[in-house]
Amino acid sequence: MVDKDSPNSKGPDETSSTKDEWPLWEIFIRGQHGMSHRHVGSLHAADAKHAIKNARDVYTRRNEGVSIWVVEASNIAASSPSDKGPLFDPSRDKVYRHPTFYDLPDEAGNM
C-alpha cells in the first residue's frame, strides 16, 4: 500500500509528512485453549484497525487464535539489557519463592 499518512489525515492534499514505513506493531494472540494473550511477533500497519487485520492474516491462518491484541511497538517500555544484573540476579538464590514446596489441590485450577 502506498498510504503513508497518519490514519487521521483530512484529505489527499495533506502529503507533507512522507514516512517510508508504516509503524511497527507487536501482536498478541490468545489461542483456542490459552488462558492469556501471548506475544507471537510483529508487523507493520497504518493504524490499529489495520494491524488487527494484518495480524489475522499473518498469525491466525492456521486457526491459531480466538482473540488478537495489537500494541504499537513504540508504546512499549522495556527494561534495559545493561540492568540485567541488578534486576534479575537477586532472585536467583531465592528458591523458596517457587511454589514447589507444597501440593496444589486440583480444585484450585490454573494458577
Partner: protein, 254 residues
C-alpha cells in the same frame, strides 16, 4: 453431456468461474505485493476464492452429469466456455486497481451470498454460508484499503481515481439479468442480481466519498463475460498460464 445445459449448471459456472478467475488474478500478487503483510493477506484471499470456486464447480460438474470434476472444469475449458465477470479477468495493473476491483466484487458478494444462504437449493445455501463469512472479511479489508489509499497521498489518490475510472464501465455487468437469472429467481434459488444494485451502489458511493474519489458519470456497462458471449483478450492469456500444467501433463497429480 446433454445438448442444452441446465440453467442451474450455467448459474453454478458463473459462481465458480468468477471466484476462480479473481482467485487466480489475486494469486499473481504472491511475492510482489507492496508490503509483506498485504502479500500474505492477498494470498489468503486468493485461497479463499479458489476454495469457493472448487465448491461451486464441483456442484456444477455433478449437476451437468457428464463426469466432469471441478479440476476438469477449471483446467480443461477454453476462454469462451468461461462465465466469469469481465472485470475479474482484467490484468492486475497496479495495487490500486486490484484493491478497487476487490472492493467492487466484495460489495456485491456480501449481500449476494447472504441472499444465497437462504436459497431453496440446499447445496447452494451451504456453499454460500461458508463463502459469506470469507466475503465479509474481504469486504472489510478492501473497503478500508480503498478509503486509506483514496485519502492517502496525492499519488495514491490519483491511482485510485484512475482505477475507479478504468473499472467503472465493467462494474455494472453483474446486475444485468438474463434468462438464467430469471430461472434461478423463479426457482427461489437466487435473487435477481439487479435487485441488489441499489444496496451495492449505496455502499460503493459512501466509501468512495470517504476516499475523496469521484464516481464517473456514466451508466455504461460492458457485458458478455457472465453470459459467455464475449470475453476480453486477457482471459486467454491468463488461462494459458493457469492451465499450462494440466495441458502439458494431462492428469498430473500431486
Amino acid at each position: 453431456m446433454s445438448d442444452t445445459p441446465s440453467p442451474l449448471f450455467e448459474f453454478l459456472l458463473r459462481q465458480g468461474d468468477s471466484a476462480l478467475v479473481l482467485g487466480h488474478r489475486t494469486s499473481e500478487w504472491c511475492g510482489l505485493a507492496p508490503a509483506i503483510e498485504e502479500d500474505i493477506a492477498l494470498a489468503n484471499i486468493a485461497l479463499d476464492l479458489i476454495g469457493q470456486a472448487k465448491l461451486w464447480l464441483e456442484y456444477a460438474g455433478e449437476e451437468e452429469g457428464a463426469g466432469r470434476t471441478a479440476n476438469d472444469l477449471a483446467f480443461l475449458r477454453d476462454a469462451y466456455d468461461f462465465r466469469n465477470l469481465l472485470m475479474l479477468e482484467l490484468p492486475n495493473e497496479d495495487f490500486g486497481r486490484t484493491i478497487m476491483r476487490h472492493f467492487f466484487y466484495d460489495a456485491f458478494e456480501v449481500p449476494w451470498l447472504e441472499a444465497l444462504s437462504a436459497s431453496s437449493d440446499e447445496r447452494v445455501s451451504h456453499i454460500a454460508q461458508k463463502a459469506a463469512k470469507e466475503a465479509i472479511y474481504h469486504l472489510e479489508r478492501s473497503e478500508d484499503a480503498v478509503i486509506a489509499l483514496g485519502d492517502g497521498t496525492e499519488e495514491s489518490n490519483q491511482r485510485m481515481q484512475k482505477a475507479l475510472n478504468d473499472l467503472w464501465p465493467f462494474a455494472g455487468e453483474v446486475f444485468r439479468d438474463d434468462d438464467i437469472d430469471r430461472a434461478m429467481h423463479d426457482g427461489a434459488i437466487a435473487p435477481l442480481p439487479s435487485s441488489l444494485q441499489s444496496v451495492w451502489k449505496m455502499r460503493v458511493q459512501s466509501a468512495l466519498q470517504r476516499a475523496y474519489l469521484t464516481l464517473p458519470d456514466s451508466e455504461f456497462a460492458h457485458s458478455g463475460g457472465r453470459v459467455g458471449f464475449r470475453h476480453t483478450e486477457h482471459l486467454g492469456h491468463m488461462l494459458a498460464t493457469m492451465q499450462f500444467l494440466q495441458r502439458a501433463y494431462p492428469g498430473a497429480t500431486w
